[in-house]
Symmetry: C2
DNA sequence: AGAGGTTACGGGCAGCGTAAGGATC
DNA sequence: GATCCTTACGCTGCCCGTAACCTCT
């Protein structure tokens, strides 16, 4: 009975399909089958019933799972407690919403690389709905997105919220959300949908909204007077300092954007967990630092 | 990090000498060294400090040990809960005191073979002091001896006691412990020493005592009138039924013989534990069965 | 035809044992 | 010399991937 066999068993038990477990573990499907067979033969017990649709745990399999999970968690504990941080190897695939990418991501990556210099970081910046999908299909280990995700096996760590504010070109004299074109987030994003909802509530109709998945583009457009925008206050300071855009107050602001650091806790990876914790720490520091000098720029 | 590495690590940690761990695990000494090195290199931590006298755990090693022990115990749990008894393989080396060998051992072995038909049983019958030594040096897995053993890492399960009684030839008219030669156990055994002590206390001197490590020989000698004996009541019934020996009452009987099923709980083997439990059960049943019809034979 | 699992088979490498080497008493 | 660990090296056998096969929808 090897540890690899147990880990394989847990993946198969979780996914219910040998083929998929093989993909997940970067193994060929026969290799996974063989490991399960070896385990069953060594224990002298059938662990799964083979069905056309996949495999299902037997009651002996259920028993094994509970113990195997304990063993795996101790293994993780050993790795995380004993491996010096600077020796931690591996790869972590992180998905990031653009707002985060534009704010504290670089601070976070700097800190992460300092702690785990040998850890390979694979970034992908995308909108929350895509990040969610990638995370759930295990193509990401960790995502900073507009959460929380309510799936059962997702761990969500709250991150500092982003306040939205209204922006327009400095040349604009009478910006009005009920008439001006509004730059907002991607059509599938929550802020976009919240915005539409608010506009309908307040003005009876939503005027023209330009969804964009590039925040800097949106700010550029606003600066050039094409429209106004309901965008993260924190990301506007460069344009404001350059006196290209300004804020205005139509009497209300859209809801805050709530972010979380989310990850599957399947086979709970201690590194992923630690990384999420670090993100929360860096983001909070960043928010505090912004808050102080922000008074004079906003 | 493989399970074999962890198990090896635990043995080395326990014994403090790589060479000894290698012997214990039936591996070459370099193989054990290599496993430890592999583990240290994977964790990026030194687990032992090498010294002339052997190896000593570092503080990281101590940390690992606690987790590794948990993992090992779960592994044992898996094996014992999931392997159907009739599939249990392996070898168990059992040491038996002669009194046990002559009483319930055969019942016990029958029951054990029925439960674990594929388990290889290696028996050795010897006196308690030798069994103790063999057990502590790990040449036995389990011993039924006059316990308990007070070493820290020994588990003792109490077994039914054996009452001693006085026996003499049926032709003997005036048997007397203070004058007749007495057949007893081996000179190094507790009953022998207790007997000497009692004789000194009661008669001021101990007459001739014939120590013997063969109970059946002792009974034969008694039957032939060479002397009397203070021997286990339970083992005499054949000679009594044949009307070759009889009991007599000099007004006192030697102390009971206390037995235990004892085993090291180093890396606690679940099979050894279960076997000890079985022995206790069979021995108790046997004692009860003897007690009932014994009334008419004794 | 596609999605699931099993069987067959050749090759790579992890890990073992043997043997020699070094350090310390 | 005895004891204990390390290094060197060749070999074995496990286990993986490829490929072909089976079964069901």
């Amino acid at each position: 009975m090897t540890f690899d066999q147990l880990k394989t068993f847990l993946w198969v038990a979780k996914l219910g399909i040998i083929r998929r477990a093989a993909d997940e573990m970067n193994l060929s499907q026969p290799a996974v089958s063989a490991r399960i067979y070896a385990l069953e033969s060594e224990l002298g017990v059938q662990l799964f019933t083979r069905q056309k649709t996949g495999v299902v745990l037997t009651k002996e399999g259920l028993l094994l799972r509970s113990h195997a999970e304990k063993i795996e968690s101790y293994m993780e504990l050993i790795k995380s407690e004993l491996t010096p941080d600077e020796e931690v190897k591996g790869i972590i695939r992180i998905g990031v919403a653009e707002t985060v990418a534009q704010s504290w991501l670089s601070d976070f990556l700097t800190a992460l690389r300092k702690i785990y210099p040998k850890l390979v970081i694979e970034l992908s910046v995308d909108i929350t709905i895509n990040l969610r999908e990638q995370l759930l299909s295990r193509n990401l280990d960790l995502a900073f997105l507009m959460g929380p995700l309510t799936e059962g096996n997702v761990e969500n760590i709250p991150l500092p919220k982003f306040k939205l504010n209204w922006f327009c070109s400095v040349n604009e004299t009478s910006p009005d959300p009920s008439t001006s074109p509004i730059f907002s987030f991607s059509r599938l994003s929550r802020p976009y949908q919240d915005l539409v909802f608010e506009l309908m509530q307040r003005y009876g109709s939503a005027g023209q909204i330009f969804p964009s998945n590039s925040l800097s583009t949106s700010f550029e457009m606003i600066a050039s007077g094409i429209g106004i925008g309901a965008l993260p206050a924190q990301l506007a300071h460069r344009f404001i300092n350059d006196k290209r855009i300004k804020t205005f107050d139509p009497g209300w602001i859209p809801k805050d954007m709530l972010f979380t650091a989310s990850y599957l806790n399947d086979p709970r990876s201690e590194i992923t967990h630690q990384t999420a914790i670090l993100a929360e720490k860096i983001a909070t520091q960043n928010a505090a630092m912004i808050a102080a000098p922000a008074n004079k720029t906003l």
